[in-house]
């Protein structure tokens, strides 16, 4: 048994939510709540994106970590790399106007938007091309009784 001073986060065993108002979560709860794996959470931490407190060796995630995780997941959803996300989050200063952070985010967002639009164009191309060849292949299949040898592979 370990001594814990009154203000400290009390070791909270297993899956039981913490009784304190500090809504600290352990890694399992976090993972479930946000639909990620434990590995993912540790990975994000390893990459400097999260910084949970520790109770001994056990990670305890605060509101702050949850907000950051939400941002990470949003970033990934729109296609940012973790590095980009980190770069933007690292600029956050709770005591400032964060103009710099916002500008960086906007800048990166514009570029990412352009990438997404290009990707969509590529995919549309691919869809058209693929649909076309599918039609051709269907043709060949229905005509395969005839000995005509349209070349598909050389």
């Amino acid at each position: 048994m370990k001594l814990v001073s009154p203000g400290e986060a009390v070791a909270n065993t297993n899956n039981v939510p913490l009784e304190t108002g500090e809504d600290l979560a352990r890694i399992g709860e976090m993972a479930k709540k946000y639909g990620v794996t434990l590995r993912t959470l540790r990975f994000y931490e390893d990459k400097g994106l999260l910084n949970p407190q520790r109770d001994g060796s056990t990670r305890l995630y605060t509101r702050r970590d949850k907000a950051r995780l939400k941002l990470i997941l949003l970033g990934r959803k729109v296609g940012f790399s973790l590095r980009d996300v980190k770069q933007m989050m690292d600029l956050y200063d709770p005591s400032g106007s964060n103009t710099k952070q916002l500008r960086l985010a906007l800048d990166k967002s514009e570029k990412q938007l352009a990438r997404l639009q290009k990707q969509r164009a590529l995919i549309d191309d691919a869809i058209n091309e693929l649909s076309g060849s599918m039609t051709a292949v269907r043709q060949m299949l229905t005509e395969r009784a005839a000995p005509s040898q349209a070349s598909v592979a050389g």
Copy 2:
């Protein structure tokens, strides 16, 4: 100097196109003609997708190789993996109706088309989400004179 029998492909030095009717190409010509790197051609060969002849150790690509390369590039364009492409090409039988090959191609194409459509949906989502947050960020930037602290990162 190396002896070459009359019917054999004559060693064709440097970049000069071959004078025979066999239109054999060396790796450099192939690469330029199809906009790929030497490394790519060797890689495709290593993966069993191409099988150029050899003049000694020098690769000589035939019409057949060119046709196959075109197919590979088309496949990659529509998002097939090289493995998929190989699987489909391996089914080609110059002496048959290739019904099996065509069916496999069609089957894979349907699945790939579905993937592409799903991807497009995801990208559209991302675009919308990203556009939305960009609007929000712009808002915050124009309002940054006011001390209101909308939280962007926690």
